[in-house]
Amino acid sequence: MVHGPRRSLLVAALVLAACGWIVACKSTPTVEPPVSAPPSFESTPKAAEKVEETTGFKEAAPQVESVSESAASQAEKLNAQGVLKRIHFDFDKYDLRTDALRALDDNLAQIKQHAQFKIRIEGHCDERGTVEYNLALGEKRARAARDYFTSKGIPAKRLGIISYGKERPLDPGHNEEAWSQNRRDEFLFLAE
C-alpha cells in the first residue's frame, strides 16, 4: 500500500512526468483526429467508400466474323492478275494526274469488257497527316476516279468507293518513295 508522504511524492512525480511529456509534445501540439473521427474520416467499414469500376467496358472476346465471298473466284483471279491498274496522286492532292488518266482509260476498257462485275475503288493516302483528314482525302481520291468513270458512261451503281485513309499502306517505308506509292487508288472487280 502506498500512503502518506510517499503517495504525494508519487503523484508529484506523475504530474511532473506528465508535464514533461506535455513540454516535449509542445512542438506537435495538434492531436490528430482518431481514425474514427467524423466527418472527414469514415471509420466503420460500411461507411468507408467503396471503389468499384463504374465504367468497366467489358473485355472483348475475339469474335469470328465471317467474310466469305465464295462466288468471287473469277473476280479474284482478275484482281490477282492486276488487270485493273493503280493510280497515284501528289501529296495532299486528289486531282487526277496525266499518268493517272492514262491508267484510268485502260481500266475503263477492262471495266466495260467485264460488265458482269461491280468495281470497288479504294482511296489511300501516305502516312503523313492525321487519320481523319486522310480518311477524307482518300475518299476524295476514290471519288475522283469514280467521277471519271461515270463521265465515261459507267453507271454509278456499278462503282463502289471506300477510303482507307492511311490505314493500308502498300509500302511500309517512311520516305518519299514509299509515300508516293501509298498515295493511290486501287480498283477491284467484285462479284455481285
Binding site: T28, V35, P45, K140, S163
Partner: protein
C-alpha cells in the same frame, strides 16, 4: 509558409549535419519562380527546392512510404503500389512538388501517435501525406491522411476499401480528393481511349490516365479508329470497318455495340461529343463530300453544318457547346476553322503554318491545340484564343499529333513516333518542358489517336 519552409530546409543543410546532393527528383527541374518566393537569408545562389513557375506555386509535399506492420511481402507490395501511384498522381497534377526522398531521413519518427510537423516542415514539406494499408482479403483497406505542417493540422483523412485488383484506384481516389480540397479538378481517375495496332488490325483500347491497366475493348480484327469518350464517360464513339466501310459506332460501358445511326457506303468519321453529351459532331460524305454534321444521339436526327466542295472534318466542340473548331482544306491546304454550332459564322483560326489539323478545344475554352506540319514532321501547337498567342509545344523531327486535353485543361495527351513506333504520351499543356514532363503511356507496337475522358 514557403519562405520559412525553404529557410528551414536550407538552414538544416547549412548546419552541415548531412550533406545531400542536389535533388533531381522529377517535377522539380523547372527554374525557380522568378517572383513571389521571398529570398531566404540562408539561400545559396541556387535554391534547393525549385518551384515550377506556373500560375500558382506547387506545394512541397512529402509522402513517406506506407510500410505495413509485420512486413508481409504481399501487403508490402500493395502498399508500395498505392504509395507510388499517389506520389506520381500528385506530382503529375502540377499542384504539388515532391520533396526529395533523401531528405526524409532527416526527419526522426516521433512515434506512432505524433506527427513530426516541425521536422517535416524543416525539410521543406509544407504538406505531408501518411498512409496505412491493410488487407481483409480480398479487400484492400487504405487509409490516407494529409497534414498541413504549417498549421500542424490534419486537413484530410480518408479510408478506402476496394478489391485488390483495383488497388491503383484507391490511390487515384485519394489523389483526386486531395486536389479537390484546393478547389481544383483532380484527373487521377480519368482514362484514355486509344487505338492500337494488332497485326494488320487496329483495335480500341482504354487505359488509366497514367497508362496502367490497359484493356482492349474491340476485337473485330478490322480497322477501328478515332475513339471519343462521351462526357459522362459511359460511352465511346468510334469509327469501325467491321461492317466493310467506315461507320460510326457507339459502345457503352457494358460493352454493347451499336451503329450510331443507319449508314450506307459513305465515309462517316471523326466523332466528337458535344459537352452536354446529346450531340455527336462528325464528318460524313453522305451528301457527296466530306462535311460536318451533328447527330442527335437520342433520336438520330442529322443536321448538316458545312457546305462546300472541300474536305471538312475533325470537329471539336467549345466547352460552351456553342462553337465548333474543325479542319478544312477550302483554301488548298488543311487549316483550322471555327464556326457556330449551327454552322454559321465560319472563320479561319490558323494562318501561321501551311498545314494545320486535328483541333482540340480546351475544356477551359481559352485555347485550341492542333497539329501542324513542319519540315521533317508534325508538331503540336496551342493557340490562345484570348491573346492570339501561338505556342509550339513539341519541337523535333518526328510526328507529334492528335492532341487532346485532359479534363482539367492542364495537360495534353498525344501520339508521337519519337521512340520509333507510335506511342501515346502526355505532357503539360503549358509546354515549357518538352522532355522532362512528357510521360510515355504505351510501349511497343503502335498506338494512336488518344481521347481523354472528362
Amino acid at each position: 509558409m514557403r519562405g520559412v519552409a525553404t529557410a528551414r530546409l536550407l538552414g538544416a543543410l547549412a548546419l552541415g549535419t548531412v550533406t545531400l546532393g542536389r535533388p533531381g527528383a522529377a517535377g522539380l527541374q523547372e527554374p525557380p519562380a522568378a517572383a513571389g518566393t521571398p529570398a531566404s537569408p540562408a539561400a545559396p545562389s541556387e535554391p534547393i527546392i525549385r518551384i515550377v513557375g506556373t500560375a500558382r506555386p506547387r506545394i512541397p509535399i512529402a509522402i513517406p512510404e506506407f510500410p505495413p506492420p509485420g512486413g508481409d511481402a504481399h501487403l508490402t507490395e500493395i502498399a508500395r503500389t498505392i504509395h507510388d501511384v499517389l506520389r506520381d498522381d500528385l506530382d503529375f497534377s502540377g499542384y504539388f512538388a515532391l520533396v526529395p526522398e533523401e531528405y526524409y531521413k532527416l526527419v526522426h519518427d516521433a512515434g506512432d501517435r505524433r506527427v513530426a510537423y516541425k521536422e517535416w516542415l524543416g525539410v521543406g514539406a509544407e504538406s505531408l501525406l501518411l498512409g496505412k494499408v491493410s488487407l481483409e482479403p480480398p479487400i484492400v483497406v487504405f487509409e490516407g491522411k494529409l497534414y498541413d505542417t504549417t498549421s500542424q493540422k490534419m486537413t484530410l483523412g480518408k479510408r478506402y476499401r476496394g478489391e485488390e485488383d483495383l488497388t491503383r484506384l484507391l490511390a487515384h481516389r485519394l489523389s483526386d480528393e486531395i486536389v479537390s480540397q484546393s478547389n481544383q479538378q483532380g484527373i487521377a481517375q480519368s482514362r484514355i481511349a486509344y487505338v492500337s495496332q494488332i497485326g494488320k488490325a487496329k483495335e480500341i483500347f482504354i487505359m488509366d490516365y497514367d497508362g496502367a491497366r490497359a484493356k482492349r475493348i474491340t476485337a473485330n480484327g478490322t480497322i477501328n479508329l478515332s475513339p471519343a469518350w462521351s462526357p459522362d464517360g459511359r460511352e465511346i464513339a468510334f469509327v469501325s470497318y467491321r461492317g466493310g466501310g467506315p461507320e460510326l459506332m457507339l459502345m457503352n460501358s457494358a460493352g454493347e455495340l451499336r451503329r450510331a445511326f443507319p449508314q450506307g457506303e459513305e465515309l462517316n468519321s471523326a466523332p466528337a461529343w458535344s459537352p452536354d453529351g446529346r450531340l455527336l459532331a462528325f464528318s460524313s460524305s453522305r451528301d457527296g463530300n466530306a462535311e460536318i454534321y451533328t447527330l442527335r444521339v437520342a433520336d438520330g436526327t442529322l443536321t448538316r453544318l458545312t457546305r462546300n466542295d472541300a474536305i471538312d472534318t475533325s470537329p471539336s466542340w467549345a466547352p460552351s457547346g456553342r462553337e465548333i473548331a474543325f479542319t478544312s482544306d477550302r483554301t488548298g491546304t488543311p487549316q483550322i476553322y471555327l464556326m457556330d454550332a449551327e454552322g454559321a459564322n465560319v472563320r479561319r483560326l490558323t494562318f501561321d503554318v501551311s498545314y494545320c489539323d486535328a483541333a482540340s478545344w480546351s475544356p477551359l475554352g481559352d485555347r485550341i491545340a492542333f497539329t501542324a506540319r513542319q519540315p521533317g514532321g508534325f508538331d503540336i501547337y496551342v493557340k490562345n484564343l484570348g491573346t492570339g498567342e501561338l505556342r509550339q509545344l513539341t519541337r523535333d523531327t518526328n510526328i507529334n499529333e492528335w492532341p487532346r486535353w485532359s479534363p482539367d485543361g492542364r495537360h495534353l495527351v498525344f501520339a508521337s513516333n519519337r521512340s520509333g513506333n507510335f506511342d501515346v504520351y502526355t505532357m503539360d499543356a503549358d509546354g515549357i518542358a518538352d522532355g522532362a514532363r512528357v510521360h510515355r503511356l504505351t510501349h511497343g507496337g503502335n498506338s494512336y489517336s488518344p481521347s481523354w475522358s472528362r
